[in-house]
Symmetry: C2
Subunit: 153 residues, 2 copies
């Protein structure tokens, strides 16, 4: 099946025009950043193929492409933590998408956390063996093994 | 030159441990999302190789890897629109980085805009030829040709 995205035109057309002409990479994917529509926090970074992008646009529910499972992935299909999309943006060269979402259950990460970005990297010196990530969000709201049964989301 | 990131361990170590063990892809890159430290808006999505990641951690100034120029890229080296990093996070499987930045000149996009995500994709029906992107931020603050002389940032 093909999807009705526009063909890639000139740089000017891609950057300044009104046509959606995504730049899928060699694997057929664009990068997608999902932020929490309420807090603005980055929840996750994932990928969309043409079908995932089209279904997200059509349904307003986040769909991704799972590179590990090589399959379309409706977010929350296993966990129930669906993502209702309130806004979608595309970047200048159209190889990245930003969606603002309302995450069901206030969870996005397969580890059971609100956001996948639950650890901070300390700044100010060259990274070496003493660098220690700081947990910003330690608590897991659920036991991933029970929710996914080892499948992931 | 090598950089002192930890070796990748078990999933449990990567996801729940305190060691920075980035998962660089086949091209040696991780994805980086930069958001505005003040507004929370996503400014850009770019890539970092090991050197760009190490230099960003060390200096607190955003460094990326330019895939088109195949070179380390200190953000703002041409445009002056540097990005001071106020916080860095890493995601569960450590293949994506989120940085909160203070963008000099309040600009991040090479088109002269605050954010690369200046167009909205309408939601609610299957994408077809009638889909028209909406400009959220139309205005360019500068003429890219004058700032970059055709080089980009």
């Amino acid at each position: 099946m093909t999807y009705s995205f526009s063909a890639r035109g000139s740089n000017e057309a891609v950057e300044e025009g009104p046509a959606l002409a995504p730049k899928f990479d060699a694997a057929g994917l664009v990068t997608c950043v999902a932020t929490d529509a309420a807090s603005g926090d980055v929840l996750m970074v994932a990928h969309m193929n043409a079908e995932a992008l089209a279904r997200t646009i059509e349904t307003g529910e986040a769909h991704y492409y799972s590179r590990s499972r090589r399959a379309l992935w409706r977010k929350g299909e296993s966990s129930g933590h669906t993502q209702h999309v309130t806004e979608m943006r595309i970047d200048c060269d159209q190889d990245a998408v930003w969606i603002k979402v309302e995450p069901a259950g206030d969870r996005a990460c397969h580890t059971g956390r609100r956001s996948c970005f639950y650890r901070a990297v300390p700044l100010g010196k060259a990274p070496d063996a003493s660098l220690t990530l700081g947990f910003v969000e330690a608590e897991r709201a659920f036991d991933p093994a029970k929710v996914y049964g080892g499948k992931g989301d």
